[in-house]
């Protein structure tokens, strides 16, 4: 649904004689008498609910507000109660709008405390054009900057909510989802700037940390941050001894024209004319359990004339057309006297063990192949 669309902004207050009412709303007459009657208990609330973000759904609409109460002898009934809220369709996701409502309530509270903005009739009238502008700009661009008076300006921005990123491991390899030069480097923090040059889709976190001379955990956090914003995605370390297999998603290369275009452009060797779909699809389908990349290269040398196999694998992983089969050693039998296995439990892949212990794949393979107590699972 993209950006949450605001249907209406309303300003409600507790009138000393008329009780809870809507003083202003844009567009006019959006909230019916009936709707307000139903939800007013959530708009102008009891003291216990004040300063809380309240979202209520009724009659197909969602109302988000934050009731404010300012107590002072000068007000009739010794308190000023108001609420500036937003109205959306009931099906809209409104999480991103909540900080906006909270901020607005804060602004109005400040304005009232500083200059009686709301309690004075002349200044209160300014609310209507302010609300109009807010509605227009927030819906159009998701941001709004509005000076209210000499000393106060409203700055609002709709921030998109994203999913929590995965934990980044030292054996993960970050790869840019778009061309690196797309990003304005100076906008990023210093750590990220320092490691950017080393993110090439082949260096894993540990290697980046060593070569860029940045502490490992800082690199992990920086990459996790990039992951959160969708700037990079994670793939696994590339080696010619790796084994991959296809996923059902590989068919999207056949079904989806845009993925085809993107893929063929990505995997073609530099300087060569574009590889053809058949060759690339055959290559992906040639990846099976038990087949290493080296095997693929020797079997499909003709198809690989115009294709860079490293980028082929990289693209396949990024788009989940293929997945990596990792090796997990498990120590199934052991002497009573020997220590229980720490790394050979089936929970740690070769990638992880090699990273942690500094051994190479070959060394680890040699060590384990000769041990009759250890079996290896691939998954």
């Amino acid at each position: 649904m993209g950006m949450s669309r605001i249907e209406c902004i309303f300003f409600s207050e507790f009138h000393p004689t008329l009780g809870p009412k809507i003083t202003y709303q844009v567009p006019e007459e959006y909230i019916s008498r009936e709707l307000f009657d139903t939800v007013q208990v959530y708009i102008i609330t009891k003291p216990e609910l004040q300063n809380k973000l309240i979202t209520v759904t009724a009659m197909g609409k969602k109302l988000i507000g934050c009731p404010v109460c300012i107590e002072h002898k000068k007000y009739s009934r010794n308190a000023l109660l108001f609420n500036l809220g937003l109205v959306c369709d009931a099906r809209t996701k409104t999480c991103a709008l909540e900080p906006i409502v909270k901020k607005l309530s804060g602004y109005l509270t400040t304005l009232e405390l500083e200059s009686g903005f709301i309690s004075k009739e002349e200044s209160k009238q300014k609310l209507l054009p302010i609300m109009s502008t807010l509605l227009e700009e927030l819906n159009a661009t998701g941001a709004c900057t509005l000076p209210i008076d000499e000393s106060n300006t409203i700055n609002l921005k709709l921030i998109e909510q994203r999913r929590d990123p995965l934990i980044v491991q030292e054996y993960d390899v970050p790869v840019f989802t778009q061309c690196k030069d797309h990003f304005i480097k100076s906008q990023w923090d210093l750590t990220t700037q320092q490691i950017l040059a080393y993110i090439d889709g082949f260096r894993h976190i540990q290697k980046i940390s060593a070569e860029a001379d940045v502490e490992l955990n800082l690199v992990r956090i920086a990459v996790q941050n990039l992951l959160y914003y969708g700037v990079v995605t994670l793939v696994s370390i590339f080696q010619y001894s790796n084994v991959y297999c296809t996923t059902p998603t590989v068919q999207s290369l056949i079904d989806d024209r845009s993925i085809q275009e993107e893929c063929l452009n990505y995997v073609t060797k530099k300087g060569q004319k574009r590889a053809c779909l058949r060759d690339v699809f055959q290559l992906y389908c040639g990846l099976t359990p038990g087949t290493t990349v080296r095997d693929l290269c020797s079997r499909y040398s003709q198809q690989l004339q115009r294709v860079d196999e490293r980028r082929l694998i990289q693209y396949g992983l990024m788009k989940a057309l293929i997945r990596r089969l990792q090796k997990y050693p498990v120590k199934v039998t052991r002497d009573e006297r020997s220590r229980p296995p720490r790394l050979y439990t089936g929970c740690h892949s070769y990638d992880e063990i090699c990273c942690k212990t500094g051994m190479s794949y070959k060394e680890l393979d040699e060590r384990l192949e000769n041990d009759p107590n250890i079996i290896v699972c691939w998954k």
Binding site: L53, F281, P341, G346
Partner: protein
């Protein structure tokens, strides 16, 4: 009014198996578990909170802000209530679930949750800071009748009457929308049962009276003794409804299966799919589950996750005999079509019951076990030496360990290969049992063969993505292979308009007349090949195998399967062909076909979580 009659309890092996992972249930359970259950009513006596669980902690209020905010008619003057100590939104430490809801006093909850009557009969959703309340307020009396009596100048009525009530669940605000939807569903079901019992024998009024009496009693005691007590703790032993609500809450937080008997009479059953369908640490969203269930074909099979005996023991006395028959006749080697014949039910019924069993986590959909099935280790399988699965396997199959068995499936292995082990100590039957055991625990995935037509590009304009290279699917326009006769299916907890498609049997391509190279056959072949481009047609016709009219005809007939979405077994089923026939055909035309193996995306849902 239909209260669903067959329901299940989770028992036996499953419980012990999940003991270790129950901790993870609790840890990541916040998102799928409720924080609290609350019962409120509105009536002539105003809004009241009758019951809430878990109980509030009893503590003294320290903040002056809260004393100012205290409602003038607070009954619990000696601090029966734990208020939010800061009252401001910038907390240093995140509040626990209990504190989040405990921060709301009974009075305020009664005010905000007992809605106006025009919000009744619909989903009620209210979010306050980090708590989301969801319920289904239900009218007990028509508001119209109340108005009449209000204008009645005659003396006050003797009995205070209840106008509406609501069973509300409090959740964390970031709960998944499907979880919120499910909780609302449960609230509605309980409401239906309570409304029925109220009309029949004033059950709710009686329980409400009891609860309020206890609350009054405890308040009086508190005022005289000065010792703070929670009235709700006293209500539990006295009110069946309170115990039911507590049980619902506890079940939702643990197993996800709720089974209540309102007034010891009406059964309300419910399952939270998010707790039942957890694969690889993530829950399977109900919509994905429903999509998969709609795509089941007659050649699939139903694999029960419990033993037949255990399942039958869980069924209530009044369950449908069709369900019992199905459970008794079902087997991992029998496909649904055969099951329909053996159980003497029609296919649609089989589909419905199968979907029902799957939804409740009692069965999964697999391809029927046979020699040629190829299995591989699932990427989400837990192969840890110390997993509870490993332990259970060792108990079930003494002398064997799970990791060694799983290692055998590191490379794709067919059942026939698996059954010829080098060591003859293992019985063949036991091997099959092991495979079934591993399938039930989602440790294995089955691989199928998919075929795609891709013709080598012509030499003249290489490198350009001409229209020629547009895959067949884009040109043919996706011919539908089954004509679904969608039927409405009221699964107990899914939305009421979930439909199942029952593919009609006449979905194989037209039976071509026998008789070799008759003109009719030739024309049919030409028609079928007409959807190809000139270049493709040329290439295909130049293949040596195409010289044989039989082979070419078969190829043309199967052309629409060659877009990578139909696996070998499906083609075999639809076209009534043998595996060997198909494999030979693929081999003959291998220069234009690309073959790959992967899991069936339709049923792979049961092996792997969705992104």
């Amino acid at each position: 009014m239909y209260i669903h009659s067959s329901s299940f309890d989770l028992q036996g092996e499953r419980k012990s198996m999940y003991k270790q992972s129950e901790n993870s249930f609790f840890k990541c359970g916040e998102k799928t578990s409720p924080i609290s259950v609350i019962l409120v009513t509105s009536g002539s006596r105003g809004n009241k909170l009758l019951f809430r669980y878990p109980f509030q902690r009893v503590a003294d209020c320290t903040s002056s802000l809260t004393t100012k905010q205290r409602s003038p008619y607070a009954l619990n003057t000696t601090g029966d209530v734990l208020e939010d100590p800061d009252g401001d939104s910038r907390e240093q430490t995140p509040l626990t679930d209990e504190q989040l809801v405990a921060g709301f006093s009974d009075i305020i909850l009664a005010t905000i949750l007992a809605t106006k009557s025009d919000m009744c009969g619909k989903k009620f959703e209210l979010k306050i800071d980090n708590v989301r309340f969801v319920g289904h307020p239900t009218l007990l009396q028509h508001p119209h009748t109340i108005q009449v009596s209000k204008t009645d100048p005659s003396p006050k009525r003797e009995m205070p009457t209840m106008i509406l009530f609501s069973v509300v669940f409090a959740l964390r605000a970031n709960a998944d929308p499907s979880v919120i939807s499910c909780m609302h569903n449960l609230s509605r079901r309980i409401a239906i049962a309570l409304q029925h019992e109220e009309r029949r024998c004033q059950y709710l009024t009686r329980e409400a009276k009891l609860m309020l009496a206890v609350q009054d009693e405890v308040t009086n005691m508190t005022e005289t003794d000065g010792s703070p007590q929670s009235p709700f703790r006293q209500i539990l032993p006295k009110c069946k409804l309170a115990r039911d609500l507590k049980e619902a809450y506890d079940s939702l937080c643990t197993t996800g299966v709720v089974r209540l008997h309102i007034n010891n009479w009406l059964e309300v059953s419910f399952c939270l799919p998010h707790k039942i369908h957890r694969v690889g640490g993530n829950h399977v969203p109900p919509e994905a589950l429903e999509r998969s269930l709609k795509a089941i074909r007659p050649y699939h099979a139903l694999l029960l996750l419990d033993s037949e005996k255990a399942l039958l023991a869980q069924l209530p006395l009044d369950c449908s005999p069709a369900l019992v028959r199905l459970i008794k006749t079902c087997s991992a080697v029998k496909n649904l079509q055969q099951l329909a014949q053996d159980a003497d039910l029609n296919l649609l019924q089989i589909f419905q019951i199968a979907a029902h069993l799957v939804y409740w986590g009692k069965a999964i959909i697999v391809y029927p076990l046979c020699e040629n099935n190829v299995y591989m280790l699932s990427p989400h399988a837990n192969i840890s030496l110390y997993s509870p699965l490993a332990e259970a396997f060792g108990q079930q199959f003494p002398g064997h360990d799970l990791p060694s068995m799983l290692a055998k499936f590191s490379l794709p292995l067919s059942l026939s290969e698996f059954r010829n082990p080098l060591d003859a100590s293992v019985q063949e039957a036991q091997l099959i049992q092991m495979v079934v055991w591993m399938l039930q625990r989602r440790l294995l995935i089955q691989l199928h063969t998919y075929v795609c037509l891709l013709v080598p590009p012509s030499e003249e304009e290489p490198g350009l993505l001409r229209d020629e290279e547009l895959p067949l699917v884009a040109r043919v326009g996706g011919r539908s292979l089954s004509t679904p006769s969608a039927l409405s299916f009221g699964s107990p907890t899914s939305s009421d308009d979930m439909t199942l498609t029952s593919p009609s049997m006449d979905n194989s391509s037209a039976e071509l007349l026998p008789g070799g190279d008759s003109p009719l056959n030739r024309r049919m072949t030409e028609t079928l090949l007409a959807s190809l481009t000139e270049h493709e047609r040329q290439v295909i016709l130049n293949i040596p195998a195409a010289q044989s009219p039989e082979d070419l005809r078969m190829f043309a007939r199967l052309l629409h399967y060659f877009r990578g979405h139909h696996h070998l077994e499906e083609i075999m089923y639809n076209e009534n062909m043998r595996r060997s026939q198909l494999k030979t055909l693929f081999d003959k035309f291998r220069s234009v076909l690309v073959v790959t193996n992967h899991e069936d995306p339709v049923i792979s849902l049961f092996q792997s979580p969705l992104e």
